[in-house]
Symmetry: C2
Subunit: 374 residues, 2 copies
């Protein structure tokens, strides 16, 4: 299922291949976020042209709207949204503990009020597994409690205990599911907040249960950047070599390279599209804010070295005009460029790993990026 | 410049070819509206794939934002927006008398406050010609006073007098302009409200001045549908055969076919994109409102006979979900489909004219469309 192809000589970076029901993914990989069954503003064709190998959907959002029965009748999420490449679905744990209003949390599951209409719902590990079975995602995530930062150790400890119990129940449901028979994969999520001993315990218990891959969750929840790197590094170091490692919700371009250097393989983040919709464009020379007056008469593309539709056809001045006049094409062009940038950064990372020069590649990129960013 | 290829046997419909600096246009033609240098939500590639031969830009909006000097420095509107096919620019007459706050109107021109920031501006026929020269549009429109409905005859008469004087001054400026040397065309606009004798006088005076083409303006300004057809018909009937006739701002699909049957060649309207952004989709079986609950589990495309990206890849149920969740892809997909529908309707109209069966084609379409519309 996961093949480790190569280990970088200059860092802990790894090159791999992950086989799923809808195709093979080269790792390290970035997964554009398609929360509600669409990567915001972009078409499936544009995602493919940008080189996206896999996208992320969200069980919580899709469960609320349009509802799982509708997607089941449509033939699953792939058919519903017209996307034929792999999909990973987030379990909703993060959303229940951030977006929704949590009403009750106990060993059975979580009761919450929808952020859309206040309606009451209960999610349990088993129900979340069933939802993702209906969605038909290639990679399913276990339901977990996502602990925010900062968290007292006592709280993080108790929370981890619950998350581990839920992980075991998820696996038990998975083992007798249609999902497993159909080749859907299930990933466990290591929590433990910022405590290295809790992280170690989380990993040990998950390994005892056994999953197709392992995610590092509960990061990028408000903690300082260095702490993200530290947790990613210490958790990745104790995860098995022969399984993919997914660092959830990270991050800005330098963050991803730092995490790759520490042995992480898979990434998702709303940054390329969300920040794109605010006019922030990513380039190898740093990020720029296209609304700024300095781009008023800048007739260069966002990035002269970029091969995306926006950079081949449009100028910074034009895109700035689109933002100034609230034209939706502006949101599209920058989201498209940023998605292409993230995918390209992963492609270049894989080449650097294959050539055994990932650490210098990262150093050069991060230095140039930070120097040029606004 | 304009070649009349064929006259329909069953109506006054005409088949023609219009030669511009950026290419040849087959008429009858529909021009998608790109007010601010972008056809809302759509990329240039999508417009081309949909078959758009020419688009419309708006001098008033572009003059206010991003400003003419910026577009001049970008090398004209084509280069600024990255569109290499023909562009027609509206003169701003309609916007000054509808969108802006008119401050003073006299023989020299119109003083108004911008609808964006209240700033004061003066537009004269000469200035509007200069603006369109800088934009580099293939077809420029004269500055006119657009009279709304209903208008007293006395007012319409005086207004027409002013519009005619402005038309003459526009032509005089045009005759000594760089625009003319570069092959930009200038169209006159016949006003005269709903009064047939004023329309006749408008046409007679415009013909005395002499333009590359003639528009019928001051329609679709609140009058009943039959009056649009009547004015279009009586004005087209007295326009010269060897020049293109442009019915401004019309309209819904049946309106356009009725106008073609009365001898009009060119059309523009915000309906395919504006209504598309509200979820209204056009089909040969009528228009449908995709937000409606009846499409919740409708897994058919918008129109099974349509070859657009939306219809080849997505279902009504999915698009309804996108509207329900405020996802911009929904606006894109319906705008794209509707634009393709309008272009396709023109292609089919041209075929029907060439075959000498436009009247029955129109009758069949209008009957089916009206019967199936919501």
């Amino acid at each position: 299922m996961f093949q480790l192809l190569h280990k970088d000589k200059t860092s802990k970076a790894r090159l791999g291949k992950l086989r799923t029901a809808h195709g093979i993914i080269d790792t390290p990989v970035f997964m554009p976020v398609g929360t509600q069954g669409t990567v915001k503003t972009l078409s499936n064709d544009e995602l493919k042209t940008a080189g996206a190998e896999i996208i992320l959907g969200n069980a919580y959002h899709l469960y609320l709207r349009p509802g799982i029965e509708l997607i089941r009748r449509a033939g699953g999420l792939h058919k519903f949204m017209g996307w034929d490449r792999p999909i990973l679905t987030d379990s909703g744990g993060y959303q229940v503990f951030s977006l929704a209003t949590l009403r009750r949390l106990n060993e059975d599951g979580a009761e919450f009020s929808s952020h859309i209409d206040g309606s009451r719902h209960i999610l349990t590990p088993e129900k979340v597994l069933d939802i993702q079975e209906a969605l038909g995602s290639d990679i399913m995530m276990v339901f977990d409690e996502c602990v925010h930062y900062p968290a007292a150790k006592d709280y993080a400890d108790k929370s981890l205990e619950l998350t581990t119990k839920w992980a075991r129940r998820s696996k038990e449901r998975f083992d007798v599911s249609e999902a497993k028979k159909r080749g859907q994969l299930l990933f466990g999520i290591a929590q433990g907040s910022t405590y290295s001993d809790l992280r170690a315990r989380a990993v040990k218990e998950l390994l005892n249960i056994g999953f197709d891959g392992y995610a590092i969750g509960g990061v990028s929840v408000g903690e300082p950047r260095n702490l993200i790197y530290e947790i990613a590094g210490l958790t990745a170091a104790i995860l098995p070599e022969d399984k993919p490692r997914y660092l959830m919700g990270v991050g800005m371009p330098p963050d991803i390279l730092e995490a790759i250097a520490r042995g992480c393989d898979m990434f998702d983040c709303v940054v390329p599209t969300r920040n794109g919709r605010n006019g922030q464009a990513f380039t190898f020379g740093g990020d720029i804010q296209l609304r700024n007056a300095e781009y008023k008469e800048d007739f260069r593309p966002i990035d002269e070295r970029c091969d995306c539709f926006a950079c081949r056809n449009h100028t910074r001045a034009y895109i700035r005009h689109l933002f100034n006049t609230n034209e939706l094409l502006g949101l599209r062009l920058v989201s498209l460029h940023n998605t292409r940038f993230y995918v390209k950064l992963m492609q270049m990372s894989r080449e650097a790993i294959a050539d055994g020069r990932f650490a210098p590649f990262r150093d050069e990129f991060v230095e140039g990026y930070n120097k040029g960013s606004e």
